[in-house]
Amino acid sequence: MALTADEVRYIARLARVALTGDEVERMREQLSNILDHFQALNDVPTDDVPPTAQSLDLANVDRPDQTHPPADREQVLANAPRRENGFLRVRAVLEA
């Protein structure tokens, strides 16, 4: 299943990844290969299998409404490249 260069650019934009022309071509090949790989699933007969959004035979995995102490703020912020007054700090991102 070959993707077009336009489709690759569209997906890149959704992911907010900037690609050069070379990279678009490289990604087009790699993503197409991945899709081809998963085409194998289409060969599995599924006529007798009811549609599901879940591969596990589970339902209602939930919990009662109880609280636990949250993490220590120092730990929460430990890996943040930048912080300010207890907040995480990031560059301004404009909505697309």
Binding site: T52, N60, D62, P70, A71, R89, V90
Partner: protein, 492 residues
């Protein structure tokens, strides 16, 4: 040149409301949900922080709260529901996706009855689904660069989203829907539904069409309204703006506009209008929810008496007029206080008097405390109100002394009967004492006496007032009127 008849336009409005649910813990982790006034990033754990490898687990109470809302509005509760990932990159989303519900929401259809422009009106719902709130961003600029500060406390708070069908036809109806919805949510005690705290937020979708036609016009989305009044003003402004454009032959742009409170106008938010592509897919970390009929039935049992039913019962059971019953049923706390006070008054016939105290002088005291103050926030209890109504009806105190008793009760929390005794406010019915004062009042007010004798019957009210004043409000008004009348007639 011929003048074309002005086309009359009709506005078609639908709303989307986001409601934070009042659970103890967050939607998918056990962090405390209530972050109000908390220091930033102190209600956070690896799950709501979106750390790699963590597993969300559904808060069953949040599911129940959403179903309760659905049942209260007559929604269908499908037997199976699921969560999906809504993907978009923005710093308020810690994982890069929001866990939401796409095609299998918890509640489908339903409706809410509101007071429309032409009487009662049904606003139909599209759906109600459950999702997680995002982190809160504060936009800053330190001169070197614009940047954002992130507080993750709000991330993962259970958020219920309700979408209506385009059934409202004016700014007023839009505000009426939002008010009615907020009242219902508070009755259900599933949310504070407090706009200032951000637990009740809404967007409005609207379009104009020539009145009497069916096809919908170009949709405009309105944001940034943070009061019922701004919702109404925002819609009304758009009706004017869009009518003017259509009248002059222009076209309406499909766009998002922000309401500006200071001017009452809306401004384009200039976001490129392209269809969002959220790449929804089933949340692999969350197996589906099955909601058995017994569970729905048990939740139905949990539904309290709802505002409309309560109001109707107050009219029927206590003989209250519609408006008074509606005022008392406005909040569950007020309605509860009313019925408790009626019981304390010892006779359902005193309900009308109890209602008047609550709607009148008690409301005045509460308003002084703040918009959402309830009786429970004061030292006065329903037992106080009931006792006061009883004392007035049994003619132990006059109506005017009773106001003083109530003020004193708000001050000290003492029971009315005790205040009456301590302050010597017991009604004076002793004919001799009243007669004595009546005689003095007549001597001191020759003008009013002449008026009365000259046929101005109402002059006696002034004289009664004078007797009351002399006796510090304690005189039995009937006794005072009688005493005055007998002196006035005798001296004719």
């Amino acid at each position: 040149m011929t003048t074309k008849a002005r086309t009359e336009y009709e506005v078609v409005v639908g709303v989307e409301v986001h409601v934070q649910l009042k659970t103890r813990s967050k939607m998918f982790c056990a962090c405390p949900r209530d972050y109000y006034n908390a220091e930033p990033n102190t209600h956070v754990c690896p799950v709501c922080l979106g750390a790699p490898g963590v597993l969300p687990v559904i808060n069953r109470e949040a599911v129940h709260f959403t179903i309760l809302a659905g049942l209260a509005m007559g929604c269908e509760i499908p037997a199976e529901s699921k969560f999906d990932r809504k993907n978009y990159p923005y710093p308020d989303l810690m994982k890069g996706y929001q866990i939401s519900q796409y095609d299998r929401p918890l509640c489908v259809g339903g409706a809410l009855e509101i007071e429309g422009d032409d009487g009662p009106k049904t606003v139909r719902l599209e759906r109600i689904h459950l999702e997680e709130d995002t982190a809160r961003l504060l936009h800053r600029d330190d001169g070197a660069e614009p940047y954002s500060l992130i507080d993750v406390n709000r991330s993962g708070v259970p958020l219920m989203e309700l979408v209506t069908k385009p059934d409202m036809r004016s700014g007023h109806e839009t505000a009426a829907f939002l008010r009615t919805l907020r009242q219902l949510l508070r009755y259900l005690e599933i949310s504070d539904a407090d706009m200032e705290k951000g637990s009740f937020r809404f967007d409005v979708n609207l379009s104009l069409r020539p009145r009497g036609t069916q096809p919908l016009g170009t949709k405009v989305e309105l944001k940034n309204m943070n009061s019922f009044r701004s919702a109404q003003r925002g819609v009304e402004f758009e009706v004017q703006r869009q009518s003017a454009i259509l009248e002059s032959g222009g076209r309406i742009l499909l766009e998002t506009r922000g309401f500006v409170d200071a001017t009452g106008e809306t401004a384009s938010q200039r976001s490129k209008e392209e269809a969002h592509d959220y790449r929804y897919f089933p949340e692999p970390d969350l197996p589906p929810l099955r909601i058995p009929a017994e569970e729905v039935a048990a939740l139905r049992e949990r539904l309290p008496e709802l505002p409309d039913a309560k109001r109707a019962r107050f009219e029927r059971e206590y003989g209250l007029p519609h408006d008074e019953a509606a005022l008392l049923a406005e909040t569950r706390a007020r309605a509860g206080a009313f019925e408790e006070a009626v019981r304390a008054a010892g006779d359902p016939k005193r309900a009308r008097a109890v209602a008047h105290w609550l709607i009148g002088d008690v409301a005045r005291h509460l308003n002084a405390l703040g918009a959402d103050a309830e009786l429970a926030d004061t030292r006065v209890t329903p037992a106080h109100i009931g006792e006061l109504a009883r004392l007035v009806e049994e003619r132990t105190v006059t109506a005017s002394s009773a106001k003083e008793v109530l003020d004193a009760a708000f001050e000290s929390g003492e029971m009315p009967a005790a205040i009456v005794e301590a302050r010597g406010l017991r009604i004076v019915s002793d004919a001799g004492a009243i007669d004595e004062v009546a005689r003095r009042v007549i001597e001191a007010n020759p003008k009013a006496v002449d008026d009365y004798r000259g046929g101005k019957e109402s002059a006696i009210k002034f004289l009664v007032g004078q007797v009351m004043r002399e006796m510090r409000g304690r005189a039995d008004p009937n006794g005072a009127t009688e005493a005055l009348r007998s002196h006035l007639e005798a001296g004719r």
